[in-house]
C-alpha cells in the first residue's frame, strides 16, 4: 500500500522527469550557435561515387570559414525525393538551404514560391557555357530558378554481334528496330528491345520522347493542351513494340535497372537507356560490354532528328533559407567545371557545360560523348507545368500497360486525362 511519502515521491519523480524532457526539448530547439561557419543544408540524392560529397567538402573548405555544406541524403527514387522535399517546403521548413531538383520540378517549385529565382547577373554567370537543354529545364516564366548541375539523355545501345548476324547497320528508326528484332527472333537469337514500360516516370519519358521526335507536343509553354496526331503515332509505336516479339515479357514492370540487367544477361539485342549502362556492362559482363554499340535515339519520323526528353538535376535555393546569399555562393561553387568533370568521369553523370564534351579525358570515359552532346543540343522537354506530378500520372495511367494501348482512342483518353490533371481538382 502506498504511503503519503510514496505519493510525494511519485509526484516528485514525475515533476523531475517532466522538467528533464522540457529542458531537452528547449535545448533541441535553440541549437544554432552564433560562432563558426554557417551550416548550409543540402537536400540531395545519394550519389554513389561520392562526387557530390567531394564537391560539398571542397567548397566548404574553400569558403574560408563562411559556410559548411551538410548533405541530407534522400531516397534513390526521384519520386520519393520529391515527396521528401515538397512536404518540408510546403511547411516552410527553414532548415533546407539548397535543393537538388529533378529537371521536372522547376515549374512546380517556382509557382509555389518554394525556391528563389536567381538574380539576373548571377543567372548569367551560372549558366555561362551551359548546353541549352539543361538551362531550359531550370527556367520558368522567363527566370532562372536553379543552376544546372548535370544532365542525362537516353541513347540506343545495341549488340554488334547480333546485328552482324542479320547483316544490318544499327537501326535509325523505331520501326526498323522492331523489324530487326523480329528477324532475330525468327533466327532464335536474343532479340528483346529493352525499354522502360513500368507504370512510373520512365514511361512518360519514353512517350514524351516519341511525341517530340514526331514533331508534336503535349503542352504548350502556356500550358494549353496540344496532344495531336503525334501522340497517336507515339502510342502506336509503344503498342507495336509491346505486342511484337521484340517485347521483353517483363516490359510492364521494367525500369532502367531492369533494362540494364536484361541487356547484361544477354537476352536483349537493343536497349534504350542512360549512359550509366556503358560502364556497368563493361564491369559486370565484359563479354557483353565488348559487343556493345551505341547510336542516336531512333527516329520516329525518318525525316526529323530525334528529340529525347532530357533528365538530370539542377540546384535550387530554398525560399525559406535563412542564408540565401551563402546558398547561392555554395551552389556556384559546386557546379564548377572541375566538379562536373569529376561527376561525369567518376559518377557517370553527363555534364551541362558544353566544353567538357571535347576534353580527351571525358571522351575516353564517354566514347559516345558526341551523341550525348547532340541530343542535349537538339533536346526535348517533358511538359513544363506546375502540376507536372498530375500530368505525368495522367500519362502513365493512360498508357499502362503498353500492350493494351488502343491507338484509335488513346488521343481522346489522353486529352481528357491531361485536362483533368491540369485542373488539379479531379481524382486521377
Amino acid at each position: 500500500m502506498p504511503t503519503r511519502q510514496d505519493c510525494v515521491r511519485v509526484r516528485r519523480t514525475i515533476i523531475t522527469v517532466a522538467a528533464v524532457l522540457v529542458g531537452a526539448l528547449l535545448a533541441g530547439c535553440g541549437s544554432s550557435s552564433s560562432k563558426g561557419p554557417v551550416t548550409l543544408n543540402w537536400y540531395v540524392y545519394p550519389e554513389p561515387s561520392g562526387s557530390f560529397a567531394y564537391a560539398a567538402s571542397t567548397c566548404s573548405k574553400d569558403s574560408g570559414g563562411k559556410y559548411n555544406i551538410v548533405m541530407n541524403l534522400l531516397s534513390t527514387s526521384s519520386d520519393q525525393q520529391r515527396v521528401s522535399e515538397v512536404r518540408r517546403l510546403a511547411a516552410g521548413d527553414p532548415s533546407i538551404d539548397i535543393l537538388a531538383m529533378d529537371v521536372d520540378w522547376t515549374a512546380e517549385y517556382a509557382t509555389a514560391k518554394w525556391i528563389r529565382p536567381w538574380p539576373a547577373a548571377l543567372a548569367a554567370q551560372v549558366t555561362r557555357g551551359d548546353l541549352p537543354g539543361p538551362v531550359a529545364t531550370a527556367t520558368w516564366d522567363g527566370k532562372l530558378y536553379a543552376a544546372p548541375l548535370n544532365s542525362n539523355t537516353e541513347i540506343l545501345w545495341y549488340r554488334k554481334d547480333l546485328l552482324a548476324d542479320i547483316h544490318q547497320p544499327p537501326p535509325t528508326t523505331w520501326n526498323q528496330m522492331i523489324d530487326d528484332a523480329a528477324e532475330l527472333a525468327k533466327m532464335g537469337k536474343p532479340h528483346y528491345i529493352e525499354e522502360q514500360g513500368a507504370q512510373y516516370e520512365g514511361l512518360t519519358v519514353w512517350f514524351n520522347s516519341l511525341v517530340d521526335s514526331d514533331g508534336g507536343g503535349i503542352l504548350t509553354k502556356s500550358n494549353q493542351i496540344i496532344v495531336g496526331p503525334s501522340t497517336e503515332v507515339a502510342a502506336s509505336i509503344m503498342h507495336r513494340l509491346a505486342t511484337s516479339p521484340a517485347a521483353d515479357p517483363s516490359l510492364n514492370v521494367t525500369e532502367e535497372s531492369q533494362s540494364e540487367t536484361a541487356f547484361e544477361h544477354g537476352t536483349a539485342a537493343f536497349q534504350i537507356n542512360y549512359p550509366f549502362v556503358w560502364a556497368a556492362a563493361h564491369k559486370d559482363t565484359p563479354a557483353i560490354g565488348k559487343e556493345m554499340g551505341y547510336a542516336l535515339f531512333p527516329r520516329v519520323n525518318p525525316s526529323i532528328a530525334p528529340k529525347v526528353s532530357i533528365g538530370g538535376y539542377n540546384l535550387g535555393v530554398s525560399a525559406f533559407s535563412k542564408h540565401p546569399q551563402l546558398a547561392f555562393d555554395a551552389v556556384r561553387c559546386m557546379i564548377q567545371p572541375q566538379f562536373q568533370r569529376r561527376d561525369a568521369i567518376k559518377g557517370g553523370l553527363a555534364p551541362v557545360l558544353g566544353n567538357i564534351y571535347s576534353e580527351p579525358a571525358f571522351i575516353k570515359a564517354y566514347p559516345f560523348s558526341a551523341l550525348i552532346k547532340a541530343q542535349l543540343e537538339n533536346y526535348g522537354l517533358r511538359p513544363q507545368t506546375p502540376v507536372y506530378a498530375d500530368v505525368t500520372l495522367a500519362i502513365q495511367l493512360a498508357l499502362s500497360p503498353t500492350s493494351s494501348i488502343d491507338p484509335t482512342s488513346v488521343v481522346s483518353t489522353l486529352r481528357h486525362e491531361i485536362k483533368e490533371a491540369l485542373s488539379s481538382e479531379a481524382l486521377l
Partner: protein, 311 residues
C-alpha cells in the same frame, strides 16, 4: 512501481472506504496525473488529425497553390464519388480483401486447430508459426517482390513461367493475395486459437460419448462457441485488408489495375499534394471501413452474442 502501488489497494480498500477517503482521493488524483500525459498525447495525435482531415476535406487545399485555398463545401466528395477511378479502386480493394480474408480464415483455422492439438513443443511451434507476421511488412513485401520477378525469383522458375507474373492483372492479383495470405494467416490463427481455448474439453467428451463424429463436433460445438473469436478475427483482418497499401506499393504502385483505395489516397495526398481531395478520399475510406464494421457486428454480432455471454 505504479502498477503494484495503484492496483493493490483496490480490493483491500473497498470495505474501509470511509476511513480511507483521504487516501482514496489522493490516489485518484495520482491516477489522473499518471493517465493525463497519455490522454493528452492521444488527443493530440488522434483527435487533432481527424478533425483537421474533416476540415481539409471541405476545402480546396493544394499545397502547390496556397493562395487558391478556399472553402468548397462537398465539392471534393462529389469529385471523388463521380470519378470512375474511385469506384474501380473500391472494386480492386474488395476483390483483394474478400479473397485474401477467406483464405486466411480457412488456413488460419487449420493452423489454430493444429496448434491447439499439438502435444509437444507447443510454444516453439506457435513461435515458428508467427514468424511471417513478425516480419516487417515492407521487408516481406520486398522479398516476395523478388520471389515473383521473372529474372530474380524462384516462383516463375518453379512454375516454368515464360512471362513475369507481375506484368499482367491476373498474376499481379495472385501475387498480392498470396503475399497477404502468407503474411497474415498467423495473426488470424492466433486470434482463433484464443477462441479455441474457450471450448472446454468436457463438451467434446460428452458429445463423443453421444456418438458425434469429429466433423459434427467441430460444427456443432467448436464453431458456435468460438463465434466471438471468429467475429473479431474476421473483422480485424477485413478492416486491415481494406486499407491494404504496402504490398501493392512495393510490387508495382498499383499498375495492372491493382490500385487500392489507400494507394489512391497516397498518390493524391503525397504525389499530387492535393490535401482537400486526398482528405475526402481518407474520410470516404473511413466511412467504408465503418460500414464494413457495422455490417459485421449486425450480421455476425447477433449470432455471436450468446456465445460471448457463455464464455
Amino acid at each position: 512501481m505504479s502498477t503494484g502501488a495503484v492496483a493493490a489497494p483496490d480490493d483491500v480498500a473497498r470495505p474501509r472506504r470511509k476511513r480511507l477517503s483521504d487516501r482514496a482521493r489522493a490516489e485518484r488524483r495520482l491516477a489522473a496525473m499518471l493517465v493525463a500525459p497519455a490522454a493528452i498525447v492521444m488527443i493530440a495525435v488522434t483527435a487533432y488529425p481527424v478533425v483537421e482531415t474533416l476540415i481539409l476535406s471541405l476545402q480546396r487545399a493544394d499545397l502547390r497553390f496556397p493562395s487558391a485555398n478556399k472553402f468548397v463545401g462537398l465539392d471534393n466528395y462529389s469529385a471523388v464519388l463521380k470519378a470512375p477511378v474511385w469506384w474501380q479502386d473500391v472494386g480492386h480493394t474488395l476483390i483483394i480483401s474478400v479473397i485474401a480474408v477467406s483464405f486466411q480464415f480457412v488456413l488460419g483455422m487449420l493452423l489454430a486447430l493444429a496448434m491447439h492439438r499439438t502435444l509437444v513443443a507447443r510454444g516453439l511451434l506457435r513461435s515458428i508459426a508467427l514468424v511471417p507476421y513478425g516480419i516487417v511488412a515492407v521487408v516481406s513485401a520486398y522479398s516476395w517482390d523478388y520471389a515473383w520477378g521473372l529474372d530474380s525469383g524462384w516462383i516463375p522458375k518453379l512454375l516454368g513461367l515464360k512471362s513475369d507474373p507481375l506484368s499482367h492483372p491476373f498474376g499481379t492479383y495472385t501475387a498480392i493475395i498470396i503475399t497477404e495470405i502468407w503474411k497474415n494467416t498467423p495473426f488470424m490463427a492466433l486470434l482463433l486459437l484464443a477462441g479455441l481455448a474457450l471450448v472446454s474439453d468436457e463438451l467434446h467428451e460428452a458429445a463423443k460419448v453421444d456418438g458425434a463424429s469429429a466433423w459434427q463436433r467441430f460444427w456443432r460445438i467448436t464453431v458456435p462457441l468460438m463465434k466471438p473469436a471468429i467475429l473479431v478475427a474476421l473483422l480485424f483482418r477485413t478492416l486491415d485488408e481494406v486499407r491494404i497499401f504496402d504490398v501493392i506499393y512495393i510490387f508495382n504502385q498499383g499498375a495492372n489495375g491493382t490500385e487500392s483505395i489507400s494507394m489512391l489516397n497516397y498518390s493524391t495526398l503525397l504525389d499530387r499534394l492535393n490535401l482537400g481531395l486526398g482528405s475526402a478520399v481518407s474520410v470516404l475510406l473511413f466511412v467504408l471501413v465503418a460500414i464494413i464494421a457495422f455490417i459485421f457486428l449486425k450480421g455476425f454480432g447477433a449470432a455471436a452474442a450468446p456465445g460471448g455471454e457463455r464464455a
